[in-house]
């Protein structure tokens, strides 16, 4: 019950984002969630896509190196306090980074969470009855 994330390193300069996006467009990959951040003289783009394997293959073929990581995708209510409650569930565990999307039709939000050790938080969320989404769910959204 994990979602695979693709991250790509980019030069921190104009137009560098368009190369990977063009590749994904041409291979008909849909982006479910996205975050772009700036680190030491590099930019980093992190993506959740519908067709993970196709995206990885297309990027590699185009000479772009995709970095894979496993994320927890936790469904929470699109309502005040729900993020707070979710975080209370994993109190004491270090979260490396996170981002989220909203599924308006379902009145739900999805949190994408990155941990160095994914097993403990996964177990805690399951125990508290949270729904964890998989890469398959990303395909079928």
């Amino acid at each position: 019950m994990v979602v695979k994330q693709i991250s790509i390193e980019l030069k921190n300069e104009p137009n560098s984002l368009s190369d990977p996006l063009k590749v994904l467009n041409e291979s008909n990959v849909n982006i479910r969630a996205l975050t772009i951040s700036e680190t030491y003289n590099l930019g980093s783009i992190r993506l959740i896509v519908d067709k993970f394997d196709d995206a990885v293959q297309a990027l590699k073929t185009a000479g772009i190196k995709p970095i894979e990581a496993e994320m927890l995708a936790v469904e929470i209510d699109d309502a005040p306090g729900s993020l707070y409650k979710a975080m209370e569930t994993i109190k004491g565990i270090n979260l490396d980074y996170a981002y989220s999307i909203i599924n308006q039709s379902m009145k739900k939000a999805i949190l994408f969470l990155r941990f160095r050790d994914i097993d403990k938080p996964k177990q805690l969320f399951i125990e508290k009855g949270y729904k964890l989404l998989s890469s398959e769910d990303m395909r079928n959204m």
């Binding site: 590099l42 980093s44 992190r46 990581a69 490396d96 160095r116």
Partner: protein, 436 residues
């Protein structure tokens, strides 16, 4: 122009007599004064009286860089310390540095041979010489300095670096001669072009470039960009510094100042001398140096010699520009670097494995050294590929440690465990992309 007509054009027979006489004297002196040489000669069962002329040189044992380090700091001293006026060292590569200690006479000798070097390219007292070799323990800066002074030219002792100021001085003082490493010459040319300087409008006429291997292509590039004539000069700290050999105006191989530094070429595997024209390891014996004479020093540089007469009129043997090394030493911006030094630093660093790869390439005309190092599994879990920015402090820490040891800057990149290709047998540790 020939600086020292008598010694530089000496007929072969007379030169051989002079070398033999000097060799007898130096061997007697080191045998009497330096326990290191006495022990080596005793072990090889050679007495000073066995050395009658220069052809007996091959009876003597070689001296290696490691042996010179073992007797650090004063073990090669042939005179009292009170007679030493200056001390230089190599960059302190693997472990202790090699020491060159100079008497007043040695400084005079150094001035003379560097004056010969500069005169070969036509430098006179009318010239303004910008000396961009580094001043300090490195022999390049002061060696060139003494030669410039001896010729009587005006010396600008600017030392290396600060390219903007190099260009300013060049314009303001009407520099006619540039001394630096060949890669720095190209860097200056590039910086000058970017600053809109037309080198044809400057007074620059010639340059003396050494301390690192370069090529005919690089010479042509320097000459075209700076609009000068570029001369190759050769020397090494173990022998004296710059001024061991240099090109004349014909730019066809380097004249060795063999009345002072006697060259041999040996087969590096057997140690046997090889004939002229055949490639092998260059070996030097100092015939006149007083402070720290060196007998049959194995340079680990590969080249060959020729005794064919040069039309410049000088009678000395000539050596081809360096053709390689017998070991894995790299020369980065004029500094000697051994992969084993990198390894020693990495072994001491926490969180990394001694699996590494060294990449050397030219960037903006300058040598760039990059080291990829594998992290331990533990560190990799802390700093996975999607969070590479976390590696920066660790990378900087290792860069700093490497800089302290190598004395050149390098860029360190931490990489995932087992990501550096393993090869069977000898690891491919070095990728040198420089085409010299």
């Amino acid at each position: 122009m020939i600086w020292d007509v008598k010694n530089e054009t000496m007929p072969a027979a007379q030169l051989k007599e002079l070398q033999s006489e000097r060799l007898r004297a130096i061997i007697k002196k080191v045998y009497d004064k330096v326990p290191f040489y006495k022990a080596k000669m005793d072990e090889a069962d050679v007495k000073p009286s066995d050395i009658r002329d220069i052809s007996d040189l091959s009876k003597l044992p070689f001296t290696t860089k490691d042996e010179m380090r073992d007797v650090y700091p004063y073990g090669l001293l042939t005179v009292d310390l009170k007679d030493i006026v200056e001390i230089h060292t190599s960059s302190g590569t693997t472990g202790k540095p090699v020491v060159g200690a100079y008497t007043q006479g040695d400084i005079g000798l150094w001035s003379e041979i560097m004056a010969r070097t500069l005169s070969m390219g036509g430098v006179t007292e009318k010239d303004v010489v910008q000396n961009a070799y580094g001043y300090g323990l490195f022999t390049g800066g002061l060696g060139a300095h003494y030669g410039i002074r001896r010729v009587g030219a005006a010396c600008l002792p600017i030392s290396g670096g600060n390219t903007k100021r190099q260009l300013e001085m060049m314009q303001d003082f009407g520099t006619t001669v540039l001394c630096c490493t060949p890669s720095y010459a190209l860097y200056i040319a590039e910086a000058g072009r970017e600053a809109g300087i037309d080198f044809r409008m400057l007074g620059l006429e010639k340059g003396f470039f050494g301390a690192e291997p370069w090529s005919e292509n690089m010479r042509r590039e320097i000459e075209a960009r700076l609009h000068i004539k570029a001369y190759d000069i050769f020397g090494l700290t173990e022998i004296i510094g710059p001024g061991v050999a240099a090109e004349c105006e014909l730019q066809n191989m380097l004249h060795v100042f063999e009345d002072h530094f006697f060259p041999e070429i040996i087969d590096p595997a057997t140690g046997n001398p090889v004939p002229d024209g055949q490639k092998g390891e260059l070996v030097f014996t100092t015939l006149t140096k007083e402070g720290t004479p060196v007998i049959r020093y194995r340079t680990r540089d590969i080249t060959f010699l020729t005794r064919e007469p040069c039309s410049c009129g000088r009678t000395s043997v000539r050596m081809h520009r360096l053709l390689g090394r017998t070991d894995d030493m790299l020369i980065i911006r004029g500094v000697n670097v051994y992969p084993s030094q990198v390894e020693q630093v990495l072994i001491k660093a926490e969180g990394v494995e001694p699996h590494y790869q060294i990449l050397v390439e030219k960037r903006d005309k300058m040598d760039c050294l990059e080291v990829d190092v594998e992290m331990t599994d533990e560190l990799f879990r802390e700093m996975p590929d999607d969070m590479k920015y976390r590696r920066k402090p660790k990378e900087l820490e290792i860069e700093h440690a490497l800089h302290n040891t190598l004395l050149v800057h390098c860029k360190v990149t931490l990489v995932a465990p087992k990501s550096i290709p393993r090869s069977e047998g000898k690891a491919k540790r070095i990728i040198d992309k420089r085409s010299i």
